[in-house]
């Protein structure tokens, strides 16, 4: 049985559905990528799973952690999962830390909650964690406030705080998007090494395909609130089958192609209030037929492995081109 299993997860805000039935399994120790454009529902999936969406969100479906249902669970039950079983780090590390509390206090708060550590024991452990995530002179900087750290260091503090509860799964929600490229690589490296050391599973939410290929075993591509393709990273990146996945790769600049033009995905993401009938990607898809605009495809197991939600998947087995992704 997988550690976390999500079935038919649907989310609506004010009657507008933004997540249309997500199925996703995360095994113990596995690293899974979740890829897609802004607003496709990558983050909402996990915020909904942990009950972190605002009250106006309607969440249905099932999220089980080792068989325990989280949707509509009592607040106490959710609190015992958050931070302890599943921890989460966010896109904007500087504003994700409370500006009026010292970083040490924010970390020891987790240690108290999940491991019962207090006083000097908690402080020593917080210093150890800060040291582990690569904060220099952690023993003195533990008493600083978030605004005294750079963005990258704030993300390291966030990671230390997430690790404080010894979670089985870390949800990294675009952890490098707000950071400089060199810092991004450092954070990705840190996440990989922590995973090696602790055996923790990770869900890596990103629109950066390079980052996903660097840290994940498996990835799912999302479009307009649905998973459209899911496979292991090698196959997904080598021979994408869904036209949208292929479009994502074609939009990456190729360092070897000189000044060749990029191939953008034409059109824009559909408005969730006004989704097209049939496949949501059909209006932007070169392969779309009249059938595609009438019926929505299900996510189906493919002969060559992986799952694709498309009536006309790309069956060519050879890779489209050598993808030049910056790997950290």
């Amino acid at each position: 049985m997988s550690f976390v299993s999500i079935r038919d997860l649907k989310v609506a805000f004010d009657g507008v559905r933004v997540l249309h039935g997500i199925d996703l399994d995360i095994g113990r120790g596995e690293a899974v990528g979740l890829v897609g454009e802004s607003g496709c529902g990558k983050s909402v999936t996990w915020l909904a799973a942990l009950g972190l969406l605002p009250g106006k969100a309607r969440v249905t479906g099932s999220v089980r952690i080792e068989g325990r249902e989280l949707i509509d669970a009592r607040p106490g039950e959710l609190e015992s999962v958050r931070g302890a079983r599943i921890a989460m780090i966010f896109q904007d590390p500087s504003s994700s830390l409370n500006p009026v509390h010292r970083v040490g206090r924010q970390i020891t708060e987790s240690l108290r909650l999940h491991r019962g550590l207090r006083g000097s024991a908690a402080r020593a452990e917080a210093i150890r964690l800060l040291d582990m995530v690569g904060i220099p002179s952690a023993a003195t900087r533990i008493d600083l406030y978030p605004h005294e750290f750079s963005g990258g260091q704030c993300q390291r503090v966030m990671i230390a705080m997430a690790l404080a509860g010894r979670p089985d799964l870390l949800i990294a929600d675009e952890p490098t998007t707000a950071l400089d490229a060199t810092i991004q690589a450092q954070i990705l490296d840190l996440l990989s090494s922590i995973r090696r050391d602790t055996g923790m599973a990770m869900v890596f939410i990103s629109h950066d395909l390079g980052a996903v290929s660097a840290v994940c075993d498996r990835a799912s591509v999302m479009y307009a609130g649905r998973i459209v393709e899911t496979d292991n990273v090698a196959r997904l990146f080598g021979a994408p089958k869904h036209p949208y996945t292929r479009g994502l790769f074609d939009a990456i600049p190729d360092l070897n192609a000189g000044r060749a033009r990029l191939v953008p995905v034409e059109g824009t993401v559909p408005d969730p209030r006004n989704l097209p009938q049939g496949c949501a990607f059909a209006p932007r898809c070169a392969r779309a037929t009249r059938f595609c605009t009438a019926y929505a495809p299900d996510l189906k197991l493919q002969a060559m492995g992986g799952k694709v939600a498309c009536f006309h998947p790309d069956q060519s087995s050879e890779p489209m081109r050598e993808t030049q992704v910056v790997v950290a």
């Binding site: 609190e79 958050r82 302890a84 921890a87 994700s96 409370n98 509390h101 708060e109 705080m161």
Partner: protein, 308 residues
């Protein structure tokens, strides 16, 4: 921190000086105290003697320098009307004013802030809408209208409370109610929006994702941040403790500072008005200073900017 403190105090002093100067000039240009105090029928030689006695015939700059010199010697002048020291007249009114403004401030803080925070935590609920409606009601009704309505209901119709005067504690109830209702409305509305703003911040989501119970998220992570803007508004209210009840004191015949302002201004009792403005400016400036230091306690970002 020392430099920050000294700069703040210097600015406070400058503000008070500006208020004093402005008041001095405007008062002397806006009417002749001799005419007002002695009446229109006073003989010319009495008026001349009065002017001579109070130095009103000297050039304005000479009067001003003399005034400044007096102030530096802590001499706040003599009332032209009853010849007693102006500062005594002002200070003897202060306790009466504070007797209604301080309880009103306590009510504003103790009702307004919790109501606003509660509304923010239960956004869009019936309680939230109730708080919004009551607060709009509270701060849109002018205090003189509210005062008259309260008098009409509780003094005239029900005959539960006296309509004016200062004889017993029951006389203070209507003035305090009038003073506090508007402030409760303003504070409730302001606290609500400050709290809603803070609850939408990413660090609140972080605190929840950490597994903190909601109560702790609110008390430890949301309220300390929401307190920063709320303190500003409370600071204004503290600054208005002495001068904020002019209208209410007049309506309820409450013998406080506000009534003294009205009487002395209409009598052109220069020394008393100047002394009043000085005390009022000082109390507001002092309240602002306190707010500045409170910011430092609440917000580490500001504290560090100051030490640099």
């Amino acid at each position: 921190m020392l430099r920050f403190t000294l700069a703040k105090i210097a600015r406070a002093g400058l503000t008070i000086l500006l208020v004093m100067t402005f008041a001095f000039i405007v008062l002397r240009m806006s009417g002749d105290p001799a005419q007002v105090l002695l009446g229109p029928d006073a003989p010319q030689d009495a008026v001349d003697a009065f002017r001579e006695r109070w130095g009103l015939n000297d050039p304005l700059w000479q009067q001003y320098l003399a005034y400044l010199q007096q102030i530096l010697n802590f001499d706040f002048g003599i009332s032209m009307r009853d010849q007693s020291p102006a500062i005594d007249l002002v200070l003897e009114r202060v306790p009466a004013t504070l007797a209604i403004t301080v309880p009103a401030l306590i009510l504003k803080v103790c009702i307004g802030i919790p109501a606003g925070v509660y509304a923010a935590l239960h956004r869009d609920s019936i309680a939230d809408r109730g708080v919004i409606m009551m607060s709009i009601f509270g701060f849109t009704i002018p205090s003189f209208v509210l005062a008259l309505v309260l008098v009409l209901v509780f003094a005239v119709t029900l005959d539960w409370l006296p309509s004016g005067g200062q004889d017993t504690w029951r006389h203070a109830i209507l003035p305090i109610a009038t003073l506090s209702i508007g402030g409760i409305g303003i504070l409730a509305r302001f606290s609500r929006s400050a709290m809603i703003e803070v609850l939408g911040q990413p660090y609140i989501r972080t605190a929840m994702a950490k597994g903190l119970p909601w109560r702790e998220v609110v008390w430890k992570h949301a309220l300390p941040n929401a307190a920063i803007p709320i303190i500003t508004l409370v600071g204004f209210m503290v600054g208005a403790l002495i001068a904020g009840a002019v209208v209410v004191e007049s309506i309820f015949s409450w013998p406080g500072v506000g009534r003294l302002i009205v009487v002395s201004v209409s009598n052109r009792d220069l020394a008393v008005v100047q002394c009043l403005l000085l005390v009022i400016a000082a109390s507001m400036v002092l309240a602002n200073l306190c707010v500045d230091f409170a910011y430092g306690l609440l917000d580490p970002r500001l504290r560090q900017k100051r030490t640099q």
